[in-house]
C-alpha cells in the first residue's frame, strides 16, 4: 500500500525533481490551446513509457468520466479528448457521470477494476470528490479534475472569476452603448445562477455581477434579480417568465447566466413577453453557437472552447505519467465571441459585419480588487489555488 502511494505521488510528479514548465513543447501554464501534432503526442507517450510503462504492458489506457453526455459542453469536451487520445495512440474508456455523485463513484470503481493508467474526471458533486480520489489513490491512478476540484487531483478548467467578470463587464458596456447611461439605470439585470453546484461555479456568476457593477457602480441594487436556472433551457425559461412579473414594461432588460443554454431560455421568455426591443444578453460558454450566430439580442458569449479541452488534458495526463511536475491548477484562456468574430474561432459560422458600437475594455483594476475579495471568502477556503493571480 505504502509502495503504491509512493508510486502514485511520483507519477503525479508532486515531489519530482523536474520543474513545472515546458515538456515536449507543451507548457500547461502558457499553452495556446491548439492541438499538438500527433508526433509530439506520440513523443510524449514514448517518454512517459520510460518512466511508467502502461499497466497492460501494451499501450496506455486513459479513462474519461464525462459530466453528462447529453449536453453540448460535455459532448465537445469528449470529442476533443477522443481526438487527442487517438492521435497519441492512447486507448480511451468513456463513462457518463450523469450529473450524479453516486454514478461518478460507480464509474470510478469501474475504471479501477479495468486497470486504467490515468483518469480525466468531470463530475459535479464536490462531496464525492474525496471518496472517488481515495479509490484512485489506492489503485495508484493519477487524476485530472475538470471544473470541480477534487483533493489531490490537478484542477483543469474555467477561470470562473475572469470569465464571469469579462461577460458582466461586456454586458454593461454593451447596454451603455445601446440604451445610454440614463436609461440603463432604469433597467433590470437578471442573473441566471446554479446555486446547487456550490462555491466554485458561483465564482462565475459572482464574477458576472462584479464585472457588470465595475462598469456601472451606481446601478440600483434593487434592480438586480437572481434566478435559479437548474442548468436547463426549460427551467431558465420558466423562472425568467416568473421574474418578468417584477420588471416594468419598457425597462431595459439585461441578462447574464451561468451558461449559454440558460441564457437562451431566459432570452426566449423575455422575447415571448414582448420585451425584444428592450433586451440584451451575454452568454457564458459559447457552446450554443447557432443561437449566438443567429440571435441579435445575444450580444456575445464568453468562450471556453470546450472542444480544445482535450488538447490540454491528454498532454497533462502524459506529463503526469512521465513524472513531470504539474501546476495545481491549469486554467483556460477565455475570449469574447460575437457575431462579428465568430468565424475566426468557428469556421462553420460566417462573421457578420456588425460593429458592437463600443470598444470593449476589460476593467483590469476592478478585477484585481474582485480577486482580492474572493481570497478572503470563507466558502472558498481550501480552493485558493483556483483563484487566479490575475
Amino acid at each position: 500500500m505504502a509502495y503504491k502511494m509512493v508510486v502514485l505521488i511520483l507519477a503525479l510528479g508532486l515531489v519530482s525533481g523536474a520543474a513545472a514548465g515546458e515538456w515536449q513543447g507543451f507548457d500547461p501554464a502558457g499553452f495556446d490551446g491548439l492541438m499538438l501534432k500527433p508526433e509530439q503526442l506520440q513523443g510524449m507517450v514514448a517518454e512517459a513509457r520510460q518512466h511508467r510503462p502502461p499497466k497492460n504492458g501494451e499501450r496506455y489506457v486513459f479513462a474519461f468520466a464525462n459530466l453528462q453526455r447529453d449536453m453540448a459542453f460535455g459532448i465537445k469536451v469528449e470529442e476533443g479528448i477522443k481526438a487527442n487520445a487517438q492521435a497519441a495512440g492512447v486507448e480511451l474508456l468513456v463513462a457518463d457521470n450523469r450529473l450524479d455523485g453516486p454514478t461518478a463513484l460507480a464509474n470510478a470503481e469501474s475504471f479501477v477494476r479495468r486497470g486504467v493508467d490515468f483518469v480525466i474526471e468531470f463530475q459535479t458533486d464536490v462531496n464525492f470528490g474525496p471518496t472517488i480520489m481515495q479509490k484512485f489513490a489506492k489503485a495508484g491512478i493519477g487524476v485530472v479534475a475538470i471544473d470541480i476540484p477534487m483533493p489531490g487531483a490537478t484542477f483543469f478548467g474555467a477561470n470562473n472569476p475572469r470569465s464571469g467578470f469579462m461577460g458582466g463587464a461586456y454586458l454593461a458596456q454593451a447596454a451603455l452603448a445601446r440604451f445610454g447611461a440614463g436609461q440603463v439605470g432604469q433597467g433590470y439585470l437578471v442573473v441566471g445562477e446554479l446555486p446547487q453546484s456550490g462555491a466554485i461555479p458561483a465564482m462565475r456568476t459572482e464574477g458576472q455581477l462584479a464585472g457588470f457593477l465595475a462598469v456601472l457602480p451606481e446601478f440600483p441594487r434593487d434592480h438586480l434579480i437572481r434566478i435559479d436556472t437548474k442548468n436547463t433551457l426549460q427551467y431558465s425559461f420558466q423562472q425568467m417568465r416568473n421574474a418578468l412579473g417584477r420588471i416594468p414594461a419598457g425597462a431595459p432588460l439585461m441578462l447574464l447566466a451561468i451558461n449559454d443554454q440558460s441564457v437562451t431560455g431566459m432570452l426566449r421568455a423575455a422575447q415571448q413577453a414582448g420585451r425584444q426591443a428592450d433586451l440584451i444578453a451575454v452568454g457564458n460558454g459559447a457552446d450554443e453557437l447557432e443561437t449566438l450566430a443567429g440571435e441579435p439580442a445575444l450580444a456575445a458569449s464568453v468562450a471556453y472552447f470546450p472542444e480544445r479541452y482535450g488538447n490540454y488534458l491528454i498532454p497533462i495526463g502524459l506529463m503526469a505519467l512521465a513524472g513531470k511536475t504539474l501546476p495545481p491548477a491549469v486554467l483556460v484562456e477565455h475570449l469574447m465571441v460575437t457575431r462579428a468574430n465568430i468565424c475566426q474561432y468557428y469556421p462553420g459560422f460566417a462573421c457578420r459585419d456588425e460593429a458592437p458600437g463600443f470598444a470593449y475594455a476589460f476593467p483590469q483594476e476592478a478585477f484585481g480588487r474582485h480577486l482580492a475579495g474572493l481570497k478572503g471568502k470563507p466558502d472558498l477556503a481550501g480552493y485558493e489555488t483556483l483563484i487566479p493571480g490575475r
Partner: protein, 318 residues
C-alpha cells in the same frame, strides 16, 4: 361525526379542499408581493404550467383506470426533437408536428400493448419505454438542442387568442374535454370501473384492456402535444426538455386527489394541483425566495395539501 368531517365527506370536498388551499396560497402571495396579482402574471403562470398540465391531464384518467405512464415526459422531448429535425431536413413544420403526434400516439400504443397484452407491470413497462425514448432523442440530436425558430409554429407556444396564451387555452381545452368524457360517457364510467376492480369489470363486460390501451395512446398523444408546445415556446427541440418535470406531473395527479391504486380521481383536481404548483413557483420567485427554500416550501405545502386530503379520506371512511 363532526360537522367538519361531514363536510369533508361530500363528493366535491376533495377538489373543494384543494381550491381553498389554492385560494389561500394566492391570497398570501397577493399580500406579500405587489407584482403577483396582475393579469399578465396570472396568465403567465397558466402558460408556464401548460406543458405539464397537458401531460397531467391525460395521465389522470389513465391512473384512474389502473395504468401509469412514466414515458410521457420522454415522449415530449422526442416530439420536440423530431419536429426540429424533420423541419431542418426540409419538411413543412406542421406536417412534421403531425408526424410527431402520430409517433407519440404510437409509443402510447406500445405501452398499452406491453401492459395489457403482454401483462407487464405499468411501472416497469413505461420505465423501459421512458429510457428507450429518451435515449433515441439523445441519439438523434447527439445530446444537443436543435433550433426551431419558425414564426407560424411559434404561435403554438407564444400566440394569443382573446388575450390568453395558446398553451393555456390548449391545456384548458384538454382538461375540459377529458372532464366531460369521464363524467358523461360510458368510456369514462368504464375507466373508473377498470381502476376500481378490473377483474369484476371484465366479468360484467367492461373492455378493460381496450380502455387502458386507448388511455395509453391518449397519454402518448398528450406527451407529444406537450413537447410541441415546449418546442414552440423555447424555439428549440431539446431532448430532455420535459424530463425533469415527470415527477411533478405525477405529483400533480396525486395531489389532485387521484388514487395511484386507481378507481378514484378527477381531472379538475389535477388542474388545480398543476396551477397550485405553478403558482408556488411563480410567487416564491417573485418574493425572491432562494431556490433552496423554494424546494422546502413547496414540499411543506404539498404535505399540507395531502394531509388535508387524508383527513377527507378518513371522513369518507367514517
Amino acid at each position: 361525526m363532526s360537522a367538519f368531517y361531514r363536510l369533508l365527506a361530500r363528493p366535491w370536498a376533495g377538489v373543494g379542499v384543494l381550491l381553498l388551499f389554492y385560494l389561500g396560497v394566492t391570497l398570501c402571495f397577493s399580500l406579500l408581493s405587489p407584482w403577483f396579482l396582475s393579469f399578465d402574471n396570472l396568465v403567465s403562470i397558466g402558460a408556464n404550467v401548460a406543458f405539464m398540465g397537458l401531460m397531467a391531464a391525460a395521465q389522470t384518467p389513465l391512473i384512474i383506470a389502473g395504468g401509469l405512464d412514466l414515458s410521457v415526459a420522454a415522449v415530449a422531448g422526442l416530439a420536440g426533437v423530431v419536429v426540429a429535425l424533420l423541419h431542418a431536413g426540409g419538411m413543412e413544420v406542421w406536417s412534421a408536428a403531425f408526424l410527431a403526434l402520430l409517433l407519440g400516439g404510437g409509443i402510447g400504443a406500445l405501452n398499452g400493448l406491453l401492459t395489457t397484452r403482454l401483462g407487464f407491470n405499468p411501472f416497469i413497462a413505461t420505465l423501459g419505454t421512458m429510457s428507450a425514448v429518451g435515449g433515441i432523442s439523445l441519439v438523434l440530436t447527439g445530446g444537443l438542442t436543435k433550433p426551431l425558430l419558425v414564426e407560424s409554429f411559434a404561435w403554438l407556444g407564444n400566440g394569443q387568442v382573446a388575450g390568453l396564451p395558446v398553451p393555456l387555452l390548449l391545456m384548458l381545452a384538454v382538461f375540459g374535454g377529458l372532464g366531460w368524457v369521464l363524467r358523461h360517457t360510458a368510456f369514462g364510467r368504464y375507466a373508473y370501473a377498470a381502476g376500481s376492480n378490473p377483474v369484476a369489470s371484465r366479468l360484467v363486460g367492461v373492455p378493460v384492456d381496450r380502455i387502458l390501451t386507448m388511455l395509453y395512446v391518449g397519454s402518448g398523444l398528450s406527451g407529444a402535444l406537450s413537447g410541441l408546445v415546449l418546442a414552440a415556446m423555447l424555439g428549440a427541440g431539446a431532448p430532455d426538455a420535459a424530463g425533469k418535470h415527470l415527477l411533478t406531473v405525477v405529483a400533480a395527479v396525486i395531489l389532485g386527489g387521484t388514487s395511484l391504486l386507481g378507481g378514484r380521481g378527477s381531472v379538475w383536481g389535477t388542474l388545480l394541483a398543476v396551477l397550485l404548483l405553478g403558482t408556488l413557483n411563480n410567487g416564491l420567485t417573485l418574493l425572491d425566495v432562494s431556490s433552496f427554500w423554494q424546494d422546502v416550501t413547496r414540499g411543506a405545502v404539498l404535505l399540507a395539501a395531502v394531509g388535508l386530503d387524508q383527513l377527507r379520506t378518513k371522513a369518507l371512511g367514517q
